[in-house]
């Protein structure tokens, strides 16, 4: 029995040594019908050399929409759909909206079209780094870093201009 386990581990080992693939992530993460929770966002603005904190909650319905409700410091509600952000007149923003939606809903096949992936998978969870492939996104986004377990727990988006936004999720409920 022990041998069999050892053999299995040995056989699986190369998998872990390999680069993380979108398929791995797809099998590791859950994609529930609905998900809701709290978020806490820190946004660093290079030009102002200041960080702005904001917090709120979000709710997500698969293939449908994400409601992003900021409660402090100013009330705001953003609705994202797989098509992009409601009211985004800027095509790049619309594209980023689509990507954000894909990130939030762990829609790895969509992300695979726009990014190359590196990172690692472990017992506790996973960490992924996305580098843009698109000449559309590349001028704006330097990289996106994601980490989580069954669900996404932290998202960090680093813009080429030096601005960065970090979002931590908590109270996740499917």
């Amino acid at each position: 029995m022990m041998r069999a386990v050892l053999l299995l581990t040995l056989l699986l080992c190369p998998l872990f040594a390999q680069a993380l693939s979108f398929t791995d992530l797809a099998s590791r993460t859950g994609s529930p019908q609905t998900l809701s929770g709290q978020f806490r966002q820190t946004k660093y603005l290079t030009l102002l050399d200041t960080s702005i904190e904001s917090a709120g909650r979000f709710s997500y319905r698969r293939d449908d929409e994400i409601r992003w409700i900021t409660q402090t410091p100013v009330a705001d509600e953003l609705v994202m759909t797989p098509q992009g952000i409601d009211g985004a007149d800027n095509p790049v923003a619309a594209l980023i909206g689509r990507i954000f939606f894909a990130v939030m809903s762990a829609d790895w096949p969509v992300l695979e079209q726009h990014f190359t992936l590196s990172g690692e998978l472990s017992e506790q969870g996973w960490q992924a780094r996305l580098l843009p492939l698109d000449e559309e996104i590349a001028p704006a986004v330097e990289r996106i870093e994601l980490s989580g377990g069954d669900y996404l727990r932290r998202l960090e988006l680093i813009e080429t201009g030096g601005d960065r936004v970090r979002i931590d999720f908590s109270d996740l409920q499917p």
């Binding site: 100013v74 007149d89 923003a93």
Partner: protein, 785 residues
């Protein structure tokens, strides 16, 4: 005889003139033109309107739009890339636009950034006027907080220089909501399947045959390739219409022209039973064609393909003179006469020639360049054919043997004698009755004045244009508002007064949109007003905004930026000189110096206005004295109406003049000459007014032709007193005209089809009425004439 020497001299001179003209024209190498626009009249309204329409038309003509569709995004993108790369190497294309590049954004930023406090998006200005300061400030904060904010275009984010995002709001208003950047390509958002756009600017005139031949086959090949891979390639542009028109005209010249020529030759051969005769008949026809092409090319520079197609039909008329000469020549064997053949027929020939030239020449009165060219072609061709018969035929050797063709003349005369003819009273009664019937038909009939009569394009092309127009929301190049002002400032101020009116219209018609110069460069007055609004916003919100970001110290810097960038004004000239002008063409009309007075002229472009009545725009234009509403299609249609009425008077006038001329020559029997064509023309008009939507301008112009042909027939019959050889000539002439013109009925070009139908009906009626009302001379009397 005036002497054969003079006759020879004149014949030689005419031959020299003919050859000289042809050579000169050939050396100038005339171009073939297939432009439908070239057929259109120049509106007699304001020259500025004409200039604006011409400019927009030329701009529209040189563009070509391709929409590549496929079932999946990736496939559509791949096809688009493939086609675009192939088109890029095409020398017939001067410029190809298929990627969305960032240089456009940079150009916008470069021009507008210094003026961000005084060039505001119209919507933002309204909100400031409403005092929505706090909302605007909160929105700016939300944008900063948004995880996927608008901060993604780093060049536009400037929390100190522009904390409230005035510039991004302005620039996003210049964007196009129908086209989205997708993988660096232009995705057409509204298309029914994934589709990407490729825009080409042609390297030359779309009506140049060489350009068409270089590009159109390639495009058609691409279309079938894309279809072969399950996709669809939509093509739209003047080039395709021009090519289709040229192709159609070429096809028709070669089929209709050749069939009518062969038919005429066969008829002549059948009637005269001599191989030499068709060749003889061809001589003036060829001279006529050659001279007509040469003169038209020399006068107009370009030869329109429709003129050539119409000219192909002219063969049938020019053959008349030859037929009369030969028929009389034939009869001269049977009944020798002291007079030469020419002397016997010259009065009739002269009258016939003159009336035809008058009838065709009258077309030149219509303000349609196309019709003028046809008139020139016809007059030159007929004169040349007439001169060739009169000057060359007498010099031809006459054969001493009796002509075998005399038999066909006698046979025909015999047939005619058996046909019933009405006595003079009955003939008059019949003419009166048919005229009354015609008037009744005309009274109950309709008239149609539709620009579509000039439309020669195939339905498939028009459908593609409509579909692309709907998806892309392109500005119309035939419908616009023209604003004239003494200087740029008052031009912009007028446009600013126009904007709210058009805006209300946009709210009522969701598809409608408009494009104004003053949205790009506001007047000084508006810029000053905007500046005051922004200063009020800063005074009210700036400190609060930076407090929320916990950087109160930055408010001072932001205020300094406002102070620094609110000096002077953005001038119109600056915009005109920038690359942005080329990206939004057709808003400014460069009036050169030839218009005299200093003035500024702007064009307000309209899109998606198809469902809106012209009266609504006209009502807006009426409220501002310096604004005019222009609708070229409507203009031309109303021009068609006006000229239909005018030509109606001309036809009536022409009949009257000819009647007087004939009464002078024939006395009381003049009605026999004028009656049949008059009754026939009216009957034809009556019938046409009940067919296919009604009577139009082109029917009337064709009735002028019918008049010319009919008078020829009447004059020859009257001159020849109905002798058998005259009936032979008249019948042959009628049949050849029917072959020449009637075959135009088969033309797919509406204009030519209408001509053909009218001539077919008119000549048919003339022949029938002439036959029934003919003078029946006793056999004996005839022999001695």
């Amino acid at each position: 005889m005036i002497s054969r020497r003079y006759a020879k001299l004149f014949a030689a001179l005419w031959a020299l003139l003919l050859i000289g003209t042809a050579l000169t024209a050939w050396l100038r190498a005339p171009q073939l033109d297939s432009s439908i626009l070239a057929l259109l009249p120049h509106s007699d309204r304001q020259p500025l309107q004409q200039l604006a329409a011409d400019r927009l038309g030329a701009d529209f003509s040189s563009r070509l739009a391709l929409l590549v569709q496929a079932d999946s995004d990736a496939e559509a993108r791949q096809l688009t890339q493939n086609l675009a790369q192939r088109l890029e190497s095409e020398p017939a294309i001067a410029e190809l636009q298929w990627r969305i590049d960032s240089t456009r954004l940079q150009t916008l930023v470069d021009l507008y950034r210094p003026w961000r406090f005084q060039v505001l998006a119209p919507d933002l200005r309204r909100r400031l006027e409403n005092g929505e300061f706090r909302q605007l400030s909160d929105e700016a904060l939300r944008r900063l907080l948004s995880p996927v904010g608008l901060t993604l275009t780093p060049t536009l984010t400037d929390p100190i220089g522009d904390p409230f995002g005035l510039l991004p709001t302005l620039l996003s208003g210049f964007g196009n909501d129908r086209i989205q950047a997708d993988h660096g390509l232009m995705r057409v958002v509204r298309a029914d399947r994934p589709g990407y756009l490729i825009l080409a600017t042609l390297a030359g005139d779309p009506f140049e045959l060489s350009l068409q031949q270089a590009l159109v086959p390639t495009l058609q090949r691409m279309q079938s390739e894309v279809a072969g891979r399950g996709g669809r390639l939509y093509l739209s542009g003047m080039l395709l219409h021009a090519a289709a028109g040229a192709e159609q005209a070429r096809r028709e010249i070669s089929t209709i022209g050749v069939v009518s020529l062969l038919g005429i030759l066969a008829l002549v051969l059948l009637a005269f039973r001599r191989w030499r005769t068709p060749l003889l008949v061809m001589l003036p026809v060829l001279a006529g064609c050659l001279f007509a092409v040469a003169v038209t090319a020399l006068l107009f520079g370009r030869l329109h393909l429709v003129t050539l197609a119409f000219g192909a039909g002219l063969v049938g008329v020019s053959v008349d003179y030859a037929l009369h000469y030969l028929a009389t020549h034939l009869a001269s064997h049977a009944h020798p006469d002291s007079r030469s053949v020419l002397q016997r027929i010259l009065p009739g020939l002269a009258l016939g020639g003159l009336s035809s030239v008058l009838a065709y020449g009258a077309q030149a009165l219509a303000p349609f360049p196309g019709l003028r060219q046809m008139a020139c072609f016809a007059v030159a061709g007929l004169s040349a054919a007439w001169l060739s018969v009169v000057l060359w035929y007498p010099l031809l050797p006459t054969s001493p043997s009796p002509h075998p063709g005399a038999a066909s003349a006698r046979w025909l005369a015999e047939r005619f004698r058996r046909l019933p003819a009405l006595p003079p009273r009955g003939a008059l009664l019949m003419l009166t009755l048919s005229i009354l019937l015609a008037l009744g038909l005309l009274w109950s009939g309709q008239a149609k004045d539709d620009l579509r009569l000039l439309q020669t394009s195939p339905q498939t092309l028009l459908a593609q244009d409509r579909q692309l127009g709907e998806w892309l929301g392109q500005s119309s190049s035939t419908r616009f508002l023209l604003v004239t002002a003494p200087d740029a400032e008052s031009l912009l101020q007028t446009q600013e007064r126009l904007a709210p009116m058009l805006d209300r219209m946009r709210q009522r018609y969701p598809d409608f949109d408009f494009s104004l110069l003053s949205d790009r460069v506001p007047s000084h007055r508006a810029q000053a007003h905007n500046r005051a609004l922004v200063e009020a916003l800063y005074a009210d919100q700036l400190d609060r905004f930076f407090r929320q970001l916990s950087r109160e110290d930055l408010a001072l810097k932001a205020r300094a930026a406002l102070q620094r960038d609110t000096r002077g004004y953005l001038e119109l000239q600056e915009w005109l000189d920038s690359p942005l002008h080329a990206l939004a063409p057709g808003l400014w009309l460069d009036t050169d110096s030839d218009t005299g007075a200093e003035q500024a002229v702007g064009i307000v472009r309209l899109s998606g206005s198809e469902g809106i009545a012209g009266a609504e725009f006209a009502a807006i234009a009426d409220r501002l004295p310096s604004v005019q509403y222009v609708d070229r299609v409507e203009d031309i249609s109303s021009l068609l109406t006006r000229y239909r009425l005018e030509i109606g008077f001309w036809v009536a006038g022409a009949y009257l003049v000819v009647l007087l001329m004939l009464v002078w020559r024939y006395g009381r029997t003049g009605w026999r000459v004028v009656g049949p064509p008059l009754a026939a023309a009216l009957l034809a008009a009556g019938v046409l007014s009940h067919l296919d939507g009604g009577l139009n301008l082109f029917h009337l112009l064709a009735l002028l032709l019918v008049l010319g042909l009919g008078l020829d027939m009447g004059i020859f019959l009257q001159e020849g007193s109905g002798a058998p050889h005259v009936w032979l000539a008249v019948t042959l002439s009628m049949l050849t005209s029917l072959l020449a013109f009637g075959l135009l009925v088969l033309s797919a070009t509406p204009l030519l089809h209408e001509f053909g139908l009218t001539v077919l009906l008119g000549l048919g009626f003339i022949w029938l009425i002439s036959l029934l009302t003919r003078n029946t001379y006793p056999e004996q009397e005839l022999e001695h004439r």
